[in-house]
């Protein structure tokens, strides 16, 4: 799969994960905090990202730096490639 396809997969996963946390998101353009995300839902999202994509897949600094789901997806992809090339679902 191309990077774009990977990222789209992660974006779709993120939309589902955020909806499961009760956030009002429908598209990758939506912003985690603007959609009702709090520091506690951030903690939960990070825990679930790590469970699925491996530890350090989404460091808090990345989440706070840019928090559209699209930006989160590319951060996850970037960290995943850097830290554990063979890890993944």
């Amino acid at each position: 799969m191309s990077d774009t396809a990977d990222e789209q997969h992660v974006e779709a996963w993120l939309i589902g994960a955020c909806q499961a946390l009760g956030l009002n998101v429908t598209a990758a353009e939506d912003d985690f905090f603007e959609s009702g995300g709090t520091s506690l839902s951030a903690m939960k999202l990070i825990a679930r990202v790590e469970e699925t994509f491996g530890e350090d897949a989404l460091p808090p600094d990345d989440l706070f730096a840019e928090s559209s789901l699209r930006a989160l997806a590319s951060a996850i992809e970037r960290n995943r490639r850097r830290t554990a090339p063979l890890a993944g679902s």
Binding site: L21, G22, F33, G36, T38, S39, L40, S41, A42, M43, K44, I46, A47, R48, E50, E55, P60, F64
Partner: protein, 531 residues
């Protein structure tokens, strides 16, 4: 002086729960208590941070070196010194150094907006601030002398050259000042005496503490949970484990607790619920789990009881004005359906009264929770009556007591435990942070684009709490993000409403109050919210 008394049943249940006297070092300063530990347990580990482990000897040396520089800079007994240092061994050394000078520390957070930092420092009469990023700090706070916690010629060898400073510090001196939200728009400074901290950590009923205690410090140091997390272990010869980042990650929490063998933690209710939901195993090795700050969720408590068993969970309650914890309740079973988990009975050397209309309440009668004992703050800093003076001296059925009226409502159970029943005023708890709705409204109403506003707290679908603001714009270009942006230069993050809704007017109920329910239907268009 108000005279408070009650019928026989009311008097008898209060005298039963208030038999809390325990011997504790009430005549010693924190300086003396810590220096005694440093001499006695010199080679024991005092502080752990990432891969650094400092013994009591090194920590004391580091603190003495900073104290020597503070004294040289003119810091004297009774002064207040700001401390703006990331969680690190230097932070703990900085707090100790200030205490060793006989001064009070005022912990502040670099993430606060400049206006708040300045307001808090000014209110505390603080002119010198210890920091770890002094250049940035000096730019932000031109009125303050900034002082680095790291001396130029750092290194443990130099620091060990300094002995304990010979300043005179007494148990009635102020050890630190915490600021809490104030309903008139200005944060309130709560000074706490040395003796009050000793009262919190010695002879503790809520948890066993000693040389072998390993306690996690993960709370922001500007909140008073840190008082317990730091001085609990460090006045007993135990170990204080510093959580290595500002934001808690559950995977990292699990690793820190396991790797360092943490035996005792305090988690805010919101954090506790999150851990129970997402990673209950993270707390598996911890002997005692203290949790509090908000009303507990019974479903999370049930899950936690099933997971951790009946002897490890303790619910704690207490306002900053009574030094961190005032009551405790060991959670051994869930309360009967439909009732809340009790906040419990007073901790050691603390007295609690449930009072309604100058009368002590008997079991089952709802009243206001009053607290007394050596944990009480001497009163707000330079405070003009804010919500009516909550500190007073009363005759409590023949006993002269200085009391603090908490503003919390509650009732006693027959067994002496108290059940919390909400607030008398507009104070709310959002993720463990105490927020006066009035402080947020005050700043919203200062915004020139805002004509009228209403702030409330509501639950998110996942069970968390958030602040929501409804704004009637004064000008056409008013936008929610600009309103939030202007608040963020005045208020810390946790006080910024997570949503701002613009509306044409604030709807009123038949009785002329703002119609909260109708407004919240704008916020939750797809479903009803719980209150």
């Amino acid at each position: 002086m108000d005279r408070i008394s009650g019928d026989e049943k009311a008097v008898s249940i209060h005298s039963r729960i208030n038999q809390t006297a325990q011997p504790y070092p009430s005549h010693d300063s924190l300086k003396a208590l810590f220096e005694r530990c440093a001499a006695r347990y010199a080679d024991a580990v005092a502080v752990v941070h990432r891969d650094r482990r400092l013994t009591y000897r090194s920590l004391n040396g580091l603190a003495n070196a900073i104290a020597a520089r503070l004294l040289e800079a003119g810091v004297r007994t009774g002064d207040t010194v700001g401390v703006c240092v990331e969680r690190s061994p230097e932070l703990i050394a900085a707090l100790l150094a200030v205490l060793k000078c006989g001064a009070a520390y005022l912990p502040v957070d670099a993430s606060w907006p400049d206006a708040r930092l300045r307001a808090v420092l000014r209110a505390a009469g603080c002119r010198l601030i210890l920091g770890d990023q002094v250049t940035a700090l000096a730019d932000r706070l031109p009125d303050q002398r900034t002082f680095s916690v790291r001396s130029g010629q750092a290194g443990e060898e130099t620091s060990l050259r300094h002995g304990n400073p010979r300043t005179r510090v007494g148990p009635d001196d102020i050890a630190y000042i915490n600021f809490t939200s104030g309903s008139t728009g200005h944060p309130k400074g709560v000074p706490i005496r040395h003796r009050s901290v000793a009262r919190l950590v010695f002879g503790a009923r809520y948890a066993r503490m000693g040389r072998d205690s390993v306690v996690l410090h993960a709370s922001p140091v500007s909140f008073d949970a840190a008082t317990f997390e730091i001085w609990g272990p460090l006045l007993h010869g135990g170990t204080c484990v510093l959580y290595p980042a500002s934001f808690i990650r559950l995977s990292e929490l699990r690793r820190v607790l396991a790797d360092q063998g943490v035996t005792l933690v305090f988690l805010t209710t919101a954090l506790f619920n999150t851990v129970v939901d997402e990673a209950p195993d993270a707390l598996s090795g911890v002997r005692t789990i203290l949790t509090g700050g908000e009303a507990h969720s019974i479903s999370h408590m049930g899950k936690a009881l099933a997971h951790y068993g009946p002897d490890r969970l303790v619910s704690v309650y207490g306002p900053t004005e009574c030094t961190t914890f005032a009551t405790y309740y060991p959670v051994r079973r869930l309360p009967p359906a439909g009732t809340a988990l009790p906040i419990g009975r007073p901790i050691q050397n603390t007295r609690m009264y449930v009072v309604d209309k100058k009368r002590l309440c008997a079991a089952g009668e709802i009243g206001e929770v009053w607290l007394a004992g050596p944990g009480l703050s001497p009163g707000y800093l330079g405070q003009l009556a804010d919500t009516g003076e909550p500190f007073a001296v009363c005759d409590m059925d023949g006993r002269r007591e200085r009391i603090y009226r908490t503003g919390d409502r509650g009732y006693l159970l027959e067994d002496g435990n108290v059940v919390f029943q909400g607030r008398l005023d507009h104070q709310v708890k959002v993720n463990g942070f105490r927020v006066e709705i009035g402080e947020v409204s005050h700043h919203l109403d200062q915004d020139p684009t805002v004509k009228q506003s209403y702030v409330t707290v509501t639950e998110t679908p996942s069970g968390g709490k958030v602040l929501v603001a409804f704004v009637v714009p004064a000008v056409p270009h008013c936008t929610p993000s600009a309103v939030r942006g202007r608040l963020s230069v005045r208020l810390p993050d946790y006080m910024i409403p997570s949503a701002v809704h613009l509306c044409g007017e604030l709807p009123l109920t038949a009785t002329g109050k703002v119609d909260r329910r109708t407004l919240l239907s704008v916020h939750h268009p797809f479903g009803a919210s719980s209150s």
